[in-house]
Symmetry: C2
Subunit: 187 residues, 2 copies
């Protein structure tokens, strides 16, 4: 990996672990093993490096979700696969956690990939739910955009529960809970 | 308000806005208007002040939840009131956001009130759901602890969606979504 890559990958890890406020240029430099000042050679500064890191993390998340949501299987099966995918619950969501970072939220450029990722995910789940409804797999009683928002929220909140409890099982419980609720609407 | 109180209240606000890593003793001192060094007069240091602040915030959250969950009305009505309560969605949850703080999670003393708050809340909601099931308001198909975890997760994740979208409406959609899902199990 060249220096630029190493800087981006180290920034991704640190942003996930410590957030934007808690990630210093010095820590990125140390973790990446890059020489002093090399961040300023490859990037205009911390926000510029963070943008590259956040964009890549957001693209990853979206790519994985799309692979599951467009896989073979019925719409509800695909949503179930997506929700049940093994996640590193105790580490939290590398995209969602940044919404708690006031400096990220205050910067429209840094916030954009986060906003777009969640907007895309909610829309994508809404579309798959609509498919389920058209095919008669889902009853006609649910508001699909609201249901999609609830699914995304359960995953994001599941991380909070897991970290609070120090137990990844709390995440699984939240996902099982929302799938149990969904079962009342599946034919 | 005396100095100790002002320090605690300022720490609560700053922890909510900026998290533990982003809250410096200097910022607490400035916001509280307390004199230099007064934090060290009243508290052993930042962790000690943070513990007082977190404990108070957690007690508040628990008190409000208990008031709604033990109010008059059927179990499902009480849960609905609790879930639909107007919250400052764009500010996020003052307790939940601390789970993203690596320094809080790594300190068993600071983490304890957060862990206890979520454990209590999940148990309390499980009990109210059990009431609903006994009274025949809820069908017998749901795992109640999982359902309770899903409810708490939707609230916590709703904050993430709201902050990502810059729109409190996203929080409301997630809550409406999970209540829509619940409706399939309510008689």
């Amino acid at each position: 990996m060249d220096t630029r890559e190493r800087l981006i990958e180290s920034a991704r890890e640190l942003l996930w672990e410590r957030g934007y406020v808690g990630t210093s240029p010095k820590a990125v430099q140390q973790r990446s093993g890059a020489g002093q000042g090399s961040m300023y050679h490859h990037f205009r500064g911390k926000p510029d490096l963070a943008l590259a890191a956040i964009t890549r993390t957001a693209d990853d998340l979206r790519g994985r979700a799309e692979a599951e949501l467009s896989a073979p299987g019925s719409p509800i099966q695909r949503i179930t696969t997506y929700l049940r995918r093994e996640r590193e619950a105790l580490r939290g969501c590398p995209v969602g956690r940044l919404t708690q970072d006031p400096d990220v939220m205050a910067d429209p450029t840094l916030r954009a990939p986060i906003e777009e990722t969640f907007a895309w995910l909610r829309k994508r789940l809404t579309d798959v739910l609509a498919e389920a409804q058209r095919q008669g797999e889902l009853d006609g009683e649910l508001d699909l955009a609201d249901t999609a928002a609830a699914f995304v929220a359960v995953l994001q909140g599941g991380y909070v529960l897991a970290r609070a409890a120090g137990d990844a099982g709390a995440y699984t419980q939240a996902v099982d809970g929302v799938l149990g609720l969904l079962s009342g609407h599946v034919r």
